[in-house]
Amino acid sequence: MRKVAAALALIAALGLYAALGRADSYSIGKTTLSGDVIVFENTTVTATGSAKLVHISQSSPIEPGTMRLDSIQAKSIRADLVEGKGKTLTLKEASASGGVIIEARRADSVTDPSGQTITVIRNVHATAESAKLSEGRDTVLLTGSVVVKITEPGRAEPVAVIDGQNVTYFLKANKIEIKGQPGKPAGLTVTSKEGKQK
């Protein structure tokens, strides 16, 4: 009888260990890349025709003062993977070209009329000719006729519109850097609740 009880206790302990152990080994998110055609070779995956790269984060809401990349759409997206510990493949870099559309969100801290600091989640919609995501550096570089529109829930007009030849998102720092070109200066239009400012 004691042996049976001991065996049951051991099985229960192993089950608990396995459950807790798995919780630790969860990855922080899931990345998917889809397209009409996907070519896989070694550690490079290229999607063409309605290509879409999506990052589904399993973590809680966006941390205030950061940006989160949700998706990249383009005619063609190339994902370079790198093999890490235990042969786990992770995204090292992604390059998109042709009709690029990027969806992201940023968590901005703002002071409301009562003087309290609140977090507002704003959508960042961008179009460009090409884009490069560097997973390690947490940056997204958009190039070629870039237009970025930042919208806020409850407001019809964009909070800000950015246009330029080179725009960089710094995701961890919640920063957007705009660069123009000689003869093509970068533009930023901010719409306050009262009116438009350029």
Binding site: S34, F40, T88, L89
Partner: protein, 208 residues
């Protein structure tokens, strides 16, 4: 016509093998062909009705290249003209089919090695396989799994065609490729035998 069938070797390994052998013998009897090599020597058989040699001969040999195909109990192999292994399969049941000039064998419960330049490139598991020794093509169906013997990758599909001469695998229906934590689902795919490079249609890759 080229018909590939060899010896039973007098060893019966279990009921399934016995049933398989009986099935093959029955089919051969229907086709008017010889049964076990030991029982009836192919050379003694009527050559007009009983093609004895499994490999392609005559004109076909010239077109398709010399290929020697043998069955040994529940094992079948193809070697090319240089003696390099092309295909090696173990199976539970076998039946010889005649379609025009082809030498076609239908196998069930198959575990096979797919070779490239005489070296194993991948392993195939399938409930049903139709292997044509003349064209050196293998059609597998019923839920097929191919695992690369060189790269850490495997692919599943409802049905698959292996064109050994072209070093090409073509699969369709519920395609799913796995390489570690990477998986690709697709409607169809095309890859080299070792699964080094693969092209998928209507596909989605996911990294977890």
């Amino acid at each position: 016509m080229t018909l590939a069938f060899g010896s039973c070797e007098g060893i019966i390994c279990g009921r399934r093998t016995l049933l398989g052998v009986l099935l093959v013998l029955g089919l051969l009897a229907v086709f008017g062909l010889a049964g076990c090599r030991k029982a009836v020597s192919p050379r003694r058989a009527d050559s007009s009705r009983r093609p004895p040699v499994p490999a392609a001969t005559g004109d076909e040999q010239g077109k398709a290249g010399a290929l020697k195909a043998e069955f040994h109990g529940a094992k079948m192999t193809w070697d090319d003209e240089k003696g390099a292994r092309v295909w090696e399969a173990r199976f539970k049941e076998a039946a010889a089919l005649q379609t025009g000039k082809s030498a076609v064998v239908e196998l069930r419960g198959v575990e096979a090695g797919l070779y490239r330049n005489g070296k194993i490139a991948s392993r195939l598991v399938a409930p049903r396989v139709v292997a044509d020794s003349r064209t050196r093509e293998v059609k597998a169906s019923g839920g097929v799994k191919v695992t690369s013997a060189i790269y850490d990758a495997s692919v599943r599909a409802e049905r698959l065609l292996w064109r050994s001469r072209e070093d090409k695998l073509l699969g369709a229906g519920g395609v799913r490729m796995r390489k570690g934590n990477l998986s690709i689902t697709a409607r169809s795919f095309e890859a080299d035998t070792a699964l080094k490079k693969a092209k998928f249609t209507d596909a989605e890759m996911s990294l977890e």
